[in-house]
């Protein structure tokens, strides 16, 4: 969550800070791949369920009649749980997650117990939190709860508040002497884990929620991330303490981290938690639950850098999936389908923030499409963009059975056709296509499929290849036969093929790859391996043509290589392909590969 009482910066500013944080972390080495040998006990698959925050945060008429965030009450939670159990549970939705405010009164004033732990607000939760969890379990559901990182200022109590089950420890013994603050809103004092009492406080919180019977904890405002960077906002130790504390309770509790986590610390998040929000709140804090521009659409830009970090045991959390009621969501049908498509192919947790008592028929069809849910919950890897982050995008994943999950997106504000070229999947010839949203086999397509997409629209297919594997010819960017102009220069890059790349492509910097051989004239999808800590544009042209500017998605840092496919029209024989930074900053180029069959 990012409630108004905590937040001091608008979302846009926060995101700008995250970008700075990423730049600062540019030297971080690439983490090793997630290597799970056995299925983890928790988050073997992205979790599915419902969260209270979207409705709490909305100004949609009638949702929060007693003031901001007042939707959160036992009655409302159980009402939503009832609807979840009746309509969605059989599709895999099981978590009911209580978000921020369970320990706050309607004026958003916090309550704490005698040990400085959050205390249920008696108006919102008159029977306390355990009773709610018990009721959820009785419906066959799982119970989720929420806490902010650090020691909340209101829990400090002049430093004399005792810590539960920690002889001689008080709140003064767990924070820094200068009472430095932490978390995304500076609403807590930063915990000093060098002090022996500190972990005991986390243990006491964990014990409490375990005793209540909760199965899930969202730890919010975690840094680096949540719009903050620097030592003061480094909560890795908090997260590690939570990991240990949860384990000590003996109760399997899923730990989810929020928000806009620093990708440079992805190894930490993976080590200690089961999921991490990679972006700011999806909610718009407006008259609907969300809006396309603020900030559903950001996920297409922000997800690709994280894709390689997702896997069993820990997933990229794209935030609530609010597609169940078009009028309340504030989205068109096309936008709702695209929203659900991205979440599914990214293998994000699927938790809706909708009013489950008021799902419209289209919303219900989106949330209960078993073929799409299977993309999210199945064994295959998350999809990543195979074309640049232009308004028309293709994302794909190669599945274990040799098929591909392929999503087409049109992020433009007007209709457009989008083509998935089989060569970007690595083969040529025929393939059969199944339309997952519409439950239809579309037949056989040669070399590509093109579909008309509405503004902000999408399609989701399973593509089964029946063609032949493409052969490629690669040329390294650093090849001495290429032409570098402007600032462009060759640089070392351990992750790059050949150990080198061409960088400094900025303000006139240009790489021209010479000797690009095409077997016959035509438009080719050339594969471009590149490195780019942030999303950057480059104009790609062939044989001195004007070219087209494409925005390559961020690879996450300046040591990680990714690739996209870019169309260029080549003549038979030898060609040149140029990467021109123009007036801006372009990605570093590792190599290109040209299809030869």
């Amino acid at each position: 969550m990012r409630s108004s009482s905590y937040s001091v910066m608008p979302a846009r500013t926060l995101r700008a800070l995250v970008v700075l944080a990423l730049a600062a972390g540019a030297a971080v080495t690439a983490p090793t791949a997630h290597a799970e040998t056995t299925a983890p006990a928790l988050a073997a698959k992205p979790y599915m369920g419902w969260s209270s925050w979207s409705m709490q945060s909305s100004k949609y008429p009638g949702l929060n009649p007693e003031g901001d965030y007042s939707y959160l009450t036992e009655a409302n939670v159980l009402k939503q749980a009832g609807a979840l159990a009746a309509k969605l549970k059989k599709y895999g939705y099981e978590y009911v997650n209580i978000d921020a405010g369970w320990w706050m009164d309607k004026a958003w004033k916090s309550g704490f117990d005698e040990y400085g732990r959050q205390k249920p607000d008696p108006t919102r939760f008159p029977r306390g939190m355990k009773a709610v969890a018990d009721d959820l379990h009785a419906k066959g559901l799982k119970a989720g709860i929420y806490l902010p990182a650090g020691l909340e200022k209101g829990a400090y109590g002049d430093g004399k508040t005792p810590i539960w089950n920690a002889e001689g420890c008080t709140t003064a013994d767990i924070v820094y002497d200068d009472l430095r603050t932490t978390n995304g809103w500076d609403s807590s004092y930063k915990l000093d884990f060098a002090k022996p009492c500190t972990a005991k406080y986390i243990d006491s919180q964990a014990r409490l929620i375990a005793d209540w019977g909760y199965d899930f904890l969202k730890l919010d405002g975690v840094g680096p991330g949540s719009g903050k960077s620097g030592d003061q906002y480094d909560n890795v130790a908090d997260v590690a303490a939570w990991n240990r504390a949860i384990a000590a309770t003996g109760r399997p509790i899923h730990l989810e981290l929020s928000w806009s986590l620093d990708i440079g610390h992805a190894p930490d998040w993976k080590k200690y938690s089961q999921g991490w929000r990679l972006d700011t709140d999806v909610e718009c804090y407006c008259n609907t639950l969300v809006s396309w521009e603020n900030s559903v659409d950001d996920r297409w830009d922000d997800t690709p850098a994280w894709t390689r970090h997702a896997g069993p045991g820990g997933w990229n959390d794209l935030d609530s999936l609010d597609v169940g009621n078009g009028e309340m969501d504030g989205l068109t049908k096309a936008e709702r389908q695209s929203y659900a498509t991205l979440w599914a192919i990214a293998k994000s947790p699927l938790y809706t923030g909708d009013d489950l008592t008021r799902l419209d028929s289209y919303g219900l069809s989106l949330l209960t499409n078993r073929e799409v849910i299977a993309v999210d919950q199945g064994p295959n890897p998350p999809a990543h963009p195979v074309t640049p982050s232009d308004p028309q995008q293709v994302w794909a994943a190669k599945n274990a059975d040799g098929t591909y999950t392929v999503a087409l997106f049109n992020l433009a504000d007007k209709p457009a056709s989008v083509t998935a070229d089989w060569s970007t999947l690595g083969f040529t010839g025929k393939a059969t296509v199944r339309d997952l949203w519409n439950h239809e086999n579309l037949g056989t397509y040669r070399n590509r499929i093109t579909e008309a997409l509405p503004a902000h629209g999408s399609r989701l297919f399973t593509v089964t290849p029946h063609g032949t594997t493409l052969r490629w010819t690669g040329i390294e960017a650093e090849s001495p036969s290429n032409t570098l102009s402007g600032n462009a220069s060759v640089a070392d890059c351990s992750a790059c093929s050949g150990g080198k790349k061409v960088g400094n492509l900025y303000v006139g910097g240009k790489l021209t790859v010479n000797g690009v051989v095409a077997p016959k004239a035509g438009t080719y999808q050339i594969k471009v391996a590149y490195v780019s800590g942030d999303a950057r544009s480059v104009t790609v042209s062939a044989n001195g043509g004007t070219g087209t500017a494409h925005k390559f998605p961020a690879t996450g840092d300046w040591g990680t290589v990714s690739s996209v496919y870019v169309p260029v029209t080549l003549k038979a024989g030898t060609n040149t392909v140029s990467f021109d930074s123009g007036t801006g900053y372009a990605p570093d180029i590792d190599r290109i590969d040209v299809p030869q069959s």
Binding site: A334, D413, P415, E451, P454, G522, S541, G545, T569
Partner: protein, 782 residues
């Protein structure tokens, strides 16, 4: 201030100017010819295609235009929701607008001057055909048949729809069919866009200016049910469905009648039109339409050489993007762009008002600059293509418009032009004839500022149509316009002595070289050139018609004394303001000082003094190659006149750049977009005609008595090509084939012309023909 003229005054004015007023624009038509079979099947050469529809927020860039010359629409072709934004060329707010502002200029608002505005919205909802649920979506615009088609597959059924605007039946037809056992279930909604309230089958209303308008819809299908339900027409289980729309206003091109046909009830007429059309099957309506449309469209065939198979495989939008991205010529696409301009002209300029800034097509009620008639380049450019491109008939709307406005323009000039607050009034103290404002509406009114030389430019355009067609009827029609414009200039010209000489010359009074530089400059090149041409044209007209010999002699005398613009010794450019200094922006969009190079031909590379040609060339060079739509088109025309083929071609290619996020260039639907502010592009149709005009001017230059073949043929088109039906001034039509940049064969047909030279390279032949006769010339050499 002079009081309002009475109706009798206007009648008297009409009598003196000799204007014949026409029938009301919206009227019952004669029974058309109905062919027994489809007269033309269409061809991929003249069929544009796309793989995405428009939605209601992208209609101006993605909606496909249809029109019968008066009644038009942009169609979304969305499978689940077909949207037509329906327009009538006469759907205008505002009025005569004859009270000047405090600065002596015209008010320019939507209530006083008025605005072109939407007539209706038609939607056909097919709830099960959501775009996200259909496959293989494709839409086409068959330029030669004048039909928009849509096809897609939904659950194994192929659905098709055809949309066209029929001139013979005066309705827009939507025909929905399918193969594979599908059914149509949904609803049709017709709505006004001006708060008329909802209605199922027709509506009618009136604007505060008294203009009555109305529209009607009728739907019928087979195999299911079609029924009016509330404010919609619901249909269910139909194997096919036909929807007919008509509409119009009670506008009349008649100043004496206050531009109204008072007895006309547009709603009632619209209901009758859809009822009458519904007596015929959709196939019969289609055949009737195609016969009518193709008779016009087929007047010009064009090949600029072959494109590659790769280029042909791309849809029109991808092809535009590839053209810009790869920098490789796509001659078939370039020819299609020209033919699209011809299609739009047929659809937008026939038996009604002429094409304004957006032609017949709108996506909202309030178009930029009112969608009006701009007389300082835009309306002229709209009609440069017509005669050149085998669409002489389409020109008539401009002639009819000027004639219908003339009584009011004359009245406004007499009453208001010498208003002491008007900075452009005649300092001679005399006032005669007529002129216009920069903007004009269809009610005889002007908007924005006075535009003294606008009368001359309009007359010169009308005169060129006479040069192309040799039509004496046309000459008789336009003679009063020419004469009145000459009278205006006779009263306005000032005598001055050129500095450093004793020579007395005549110059134009204070004026603004269009939208550029000082507001009050005397002797601006723009006015000098236009008036010089006007006077010359008038003298020929008077001689041809054997009228007013005394006045013609006076005009000839004035013409001899007119100052003719010079080349600045300082800049080396042809002067714009009768000053050696550059008083404006070097790369300004307007080419007003080059109006003598194009469309005029006082500056002739083949016969003018070389320093004059060099000055014009230097000015054109300074103006640059990177402007937008119409400004690029005009530059291209000028470079074609200067026989610089590659510059002329590059400007055409610049206009073909795909527009994204409002950038200058060609939209998805091929409409030209002008980026008026960063990120905000608006549709301006002039480049859709000006660019094709430039392309033709590259293939053929003509002036009376002289035709030049392939004067500026770019390398991209040189290998091989052909064109038929190109109009040539002097009264000829030319068919031409070429190879390796050299004409193989040129057929010259007289449509009234007698003698002309036909030149290519260094050779020139003289051809003499009787009207209707033709000759084929061969054996050209470089």
């Amino acid at each position: 201030m002079t009081p309002e003229p009475s109706r009798r005054d206007l009648l008297a004015l009409a009598a003196t100017t000799g204007v014949l007023t026409g029938l009301p624009t919206y009227t019952a038509g004669a029974a058309p010819d109905r062919p027994d079979s489809l007269p033309y099947q269409g061809s991929s050469d003249t069929t544009l295609w796309w793989q995405a529809p428009a939605d209601e927020h992208s209609m101006i860039e993605q909606g496909l235009p249809v029109g019968n010359g008066r009644l038009g629409a942009l169609a979304s072709n969305d499978p689940g929701r077909e949207l037509l934004l329906v327009t009538d060329a006469t759907m205008w707010t505002g009025g005569r607008n004859d009270t000047l502002d405090a600065d002596g200029q015209f008010p320019y608002g939507r209530a006083d001057f008025g605005s072109f505005t939407l007539l209706a919205r038609l939607t056909v909802d097919l709830p099960d055909h959501d775009l996200s649920a259909v496959n293989g979506y494709r839409r086409t615009l068959d330029l030669a048949r004048g039909v928009v088609t849509t096809s897609y597959v939904r659950s194994g059924v192929t659905y098709r729809r055809e949309i066209f605007a029929s001139h013979p039946d005066d309705v827009i037809v939507l025909h929905f069919t399918q193969s594979g056992g599908g059914r149509y279930t949904g609803s049709v909604t017709l709505e006004g866009t001006h708060g008329e309230g909802e209605t199922a089958v027709s509506f009618g209303a009136a604007f505060p200016n008294g203009l009555r308008y109305g529209a009607a819809v009728k739907a019928y299908g087979s195999g299911g049910r079609v029924a009016v339900r509330g404010t919609r027409i619901d249909f269910s289980g139909c194997r096919d469905l036909t929807v007919l729309v008509s509409g119009g206003t009670n506008y009349a091109p008649d100043a004496q009648a206050g531009y109204r046909a008072p007895a006309l009830d547009p709603e009632k007429l619209a209901r009758a039109k859809v009822r009458d059309a519904a007596a015929h099957s959709a196939d019969v309506l289609l055949r009737t339409h195609v016969a009518d449309h193709h008779a016009l469209f087929g007047q010009l065939d064009l090949s600029l050489g072959p494109s590659t198979a790769e280029q042909r495989s791309l849809d029109t939008w991808e092809r535009l993007k590839a053209r810009a991205r790869d920098g490789v010529p796509d001659p078939e696409l370039e020819a299609q762009y020209l033919q699209f301009g011809r299609y739009v002209m047929i659809a937008g300029s026939r038996d009604s008002l002429p094409l304004g800034l957006q032609g017949l097509w709108l996506d909202g009620n309030d178009p930029d600059w009112m969608g009006d008639y701009h007389t300082d380049i835009n309306i002229q450019m709209n009609y440069w293509m017509a005669d050149r491109a085998g669409l002489a008939r389409s020109f008539d709307a401009l002639t009819d418009y000027c004639l219908a406005q003339l009584p009011s323009w004359t009245d406004l000039t007499r009453r208001l032009f010498d208003d002491p607050r008007n900075r452009y009034r005649n300092s001679t103290g005399k006032n005669a004839g007529w002129t216009v404002a920069i903007s004009t509406n269809p009610y005889g009114g002007g908007g924005w500022w006075w535009h003294p030389a606008g009368n001359a430019w309009l007359c010169n355009s009308l005169w060129e149509h006479y040069e192309f067609t040799g039509s004496r009827t046309h000459l008789e029609k336009i003679y009063p316009l020419l004469k009145g414009a000459c009278e205006f200039w006779e009263a306005r010209l000032l005598t001055t002595t050129l500095p450093g000489t004793a020579r007395e010359v005549l110059i134009a009074d204070s004026d603004w070289s269009p939208e550029h530089g000082p507001l009050d400059a005397k002797g601006i090149t723009y006015a000098q050139e236009l008036v010089w041409a006007l006077f010359g044209n008038y003298c020929v007209a008077a001689a041809e018609l054997k009228r007013d010999s005394g006045f013609a002699a006076t005009v000839a005398g004035l013409r001899k004394r007119l100052h003719l613009p010079q080349v600045s010794p300082k800049t080396g450019w042809l002067e714009e303001w009768m000053s050696p200094d550059n008083l404006g922006e070097t790369t300004h969009r307007h080419l007003s000082p080059l109006v003598g190079l194009f469309p005029g031909d006082r500056i002739r590379p083949d016969s003018s003094p070389s320093d004059l040609v060099a000055g014009a060339t230097a000015l054109l060079t300074a103006r640059g190659m990177e402007s937008f739509g119409w400004a690029n088109a005009w530059r291209s025309l000028c470079w074609a006149r200067l026989k610089n083929a590659e510059n002329a071609y590059r400007l055409v290619v610049n206009n073909l750049r795909p527009s994204s996020d409002g950038s200058n260039g060609t939209a998805f639907n091929l409409f030209d977009i002008y980026e008026v502010d960063k990120g905000r592009g608006i549709f301006q149709i002039d480049a859709n005609f000006g660019t094709p005009a430039a392309m033709i001017e590259m293939l053929l230059y003509s002036r009376p008595g002289h035709i030049e073949l392939l004067p500026a043929l770019p390398g991209a088109w040189a290998a091989s090509g052909s064109v038929t039906g190109v109009g040539a001034r002097g009264g000829f039509v030319v068919d031409l084939r070429w190879r390796d940049g050299i004409p193989i064969e040129a057929r010259i047909r007289s449509v009234g012309g007698r003698t002309t030279t036909v030149a290519f390279g260094g050779t020139s032949r003289t051809v003499t023909l009787r009207p209707g006769a033709s000759v084929t010339l061969k054996d050209f050499a470089r």
